[in-house]
């Protein structure tokens, strides 16, 4: 059971590789890979937040893109107002736009978390098939909301003048931005590994495995599930804030329902209910996309059947292949 040492070594190698990555790809003359790696890290964050509710909470949410997109739009809209010099509101009190990451990013988390709270409040009254369809439907509602939001570009989206500002750093530099993202992702994964073993985490996992029994032994599980849903939404909002920064552009495409589907795919591909699985899944998915779309514009014709095959034959995902085979699945 205990193989702490190999794991520690593996983690050290991984950390060193991630820290050295910008320098390595620069030396290899492929500096643009830093941007790709940043993109992968951001989706590792988003997929990781989904895994909290999907893998550890058993909630099949098909609307995670709504939170990602909301976070992105908060940053985009604040930045838009700041660069245009127009206040967001003048009444009841004046609210100005901002490009400060220290204000905009937490606000992105707050907005996405609040949205997740409201959607969760309604969706968690149900379960199973209902839950999947309702989260999908609400995400679609948020999608159409932004599509019809003409002042901020509607369907076409909204360009940002620059990335957010962080004191002492220049986020406009891809390398510096990479390290900021890496730090946030590492922090989030560390916190998640604590949370899932905490009292909150065991209640969440207990409710995933047997919610009825959890309530019968006295746990008011719905409020914990709602808290997890909200938390996951907020972290997805942060991922959205980062995506908006990387691309310096926000559009309803971030909220498209296929985005939600892709995040589900990342979680499953990597290994559901494992801490590092979603990061692995995000990496695999985005690299596959990178490689295959280089070969053919029709790479989805490969991905689709591949998904079907994974579901039919490789239930435990990539993490299941690299970790010990045949082990009783425990968390």
């Amino acid at each position: 059971m205990d193989n702490g040492l190999p794991r520690l070594i593996l983690a050290a190698i991984l950390a060193a590789a991630l820290l050295a990555l910008p320098a390595l790809v620069e030396a290899a003359g492929r500096g643009y890979w830093t941007g790709i790696a940043t993109h992968v890290l951001i989706f590792a964050l988003a997929a990781g937040s989904l895994n909290l509710i999907l893998g550890f909470g058993g909630m099949v949410s098909f609307g995670h893109a709504a939170f990602l997109g909301t976070g992105a739009y908060v940053v985009g809209i604040l930045s838009h107002h700041a660069s245009m010099g127009i206040p967001i509101a003048t009444w009841p009190f004046a609210i100005a736009g901002t490009e400060s990451a220290l204000i905009a990013w937490p606000l992105a988390m707050l907005a996405a978390g609040a949205l997740a709270f409201v959607i969760g409040l309604i969706s968690l009254r149900t379960g199973g098939l209902y839950f999947i369809m309702i989260t999908l439907a609400f995400a679609q509602m948020v999608y159409f909301f932004f599509v019809s939001l003409e002042p901020y570009g509607g369907d076409d989206g909204l360009s940002m003048w620059s990335r957010s500002r962080l004191p002492g750093l220049d986020l406009g530099s891809d390398t510096q931005f990479y390290y900021v993202v890496l730090a946030l992702v590492a922090l989030a994964y560390f916190l998640k590994s604590r949370v899932i073993h905490s009292r909150f985490g065991v209640v969440l996992r207990g409710s995933r495995d047997n919610d009825r029994r959890m309530r019968a032994i006295g746990h008011p599980t719905r409020r914990y599930r709602l808290a997890a849903f909200t938390l996951a939404g907020a972290v997805a909002g942060l991922a959205g804030a980062l995506i908006a920064n990387q691309t310096e552009f926000v559009s309803p495409a971030f909220l498209h329902w296929t985005r939600s589907g892709e995040m589900l795919v990342m979680v499953i591909l990597g290994g559901i209910g494992t801490v590092l699985g979603p990061a692995l899944g995000a990496t695999a998915f985005l690299l596959l996309e990178e490689v295959f779309s280089g070969w053919t514009e029709h790479w989805m014709i490969v991905l689709g059947p591949l998904l079907l095959a994974v579901v039919l034959f490789a239930k435990r995902g990539l993490w299941g292949l690299v970790s010990r085979p045949g082990e009783v699945p425990r968390d």
């Binding site: 905490s198 009292r199 309530r215 019968a216 032994i217």
Partner: protein, 256 residues
């Protein structure tokens, strides 16, 4: 005279035209082992669901420890001291036996909005959990995932989890279900040891177990209490023999 711990008054539940609980009255005194028997279809399952808070009665009320709990949720009832075991084993298969019990211990240890310290290294959860496992003779299996336990051990763990919530009343839904004679005997012994410490409402088909354990027996037929009394009184009651034991009344009575 002491107040009953659980008092069911005029409880009624119908599904369409089928009346599953029909104006039922029932008392359980503190510390009492009260058995509930009745033929299949007598409404035992529906009654358990209403007592546990899974389905709402159409009419009537349930008082527990002096308070009306008719509209309380399942978890709120458990927190007041009304715990249940399930007829079909209901555990957390991926968690160890110890963790199964510790989850129940945690339920009465306040809210779970604690995100930092690992729960399974917390002695305030594990020590009481160990104590409960030891009490039920499961301490050897503490670290085995629940899914790997034998059926008999899972039935014991089922009781352990309920007991770990520190109930004042245990609602036992067929604790002997699926047990062989040896395991059944062990379960009867175990429940006998709990007598006096916690009141029990025992729903059971195994008549040996019922007549060994019960202080009082209520016979449920068509959603109503047909008779209620000591085991001897129930054994002697001609109406019970006719209604419950049916055609084979004589032979059945011998078995009882």
């Amino acid at each position: 005279m002491t107040e009953p711990l659980l008092r069911v008054t005029g409880l009624r539940k119908a599904f369409g035209a089928v009346v599953a609980t029909d104006g039922l009255h029932l008392d359980v005194m503190p510390g009492e082992v009260h058995a509930l028997i009745g033929p299949n279809g007598a409404g035992k399952t529906t009654l358990v669901a209403q007592l546990a808070g899974e389905i709402a009665p159409d009419d009537g009320r349930i008082d527990f420890a002096g308070a009306d709990i008719t509209r309380l949720s399942m978890h709120a009832r458990t927190r007041r001291g009304l715990a249940r075991s399930f007829q079909i084993t209901s555990l957390f298969p991926r968690f160890t036996a110890l963790e199964n019990v510790a989850l129940a211990v945690q339920a009465r240890a306040g809210h779970a909005f604690r995100f930092w310290r690992p729960a399974w290294r917390d002695p305030t959860l594990l020590e009481p959990a160990h104590a409960v496992l030891a009490r039920l003779g499961l301490d050897l299996h503490a670290d085995r995932p629940a899914s790997t336990l034998s059926h008999g051990e899972q039935r014991q763990l089922e009781i352990a989890v309920a007991l770990a919530t520190q109930p004042r009343l245990l609602l036992l839904d067929e604790p002997m279900a699926g047990l062989g004679p040896e395991d059944s005997a062990w379960m009867v012994e175990l429940l006998g040891e709990l007598r006096g410490e916690v009141a029990m409402l025992l729903i059971e088909h195994d008549m040996d177990a019922v007549f060994t354990l019960a202080d009082r027996i209520t016979v449920l037929v068509y959603g109503r209490a047909l008779a209620s009394g000591t085991p001897d009184a129930i054994r002697a009651d001609p109406e019970v023999r006719r209604a419950y034991l049916g055609d084979g009344a004589e032979a059945g009575a011998e078995a009882v």
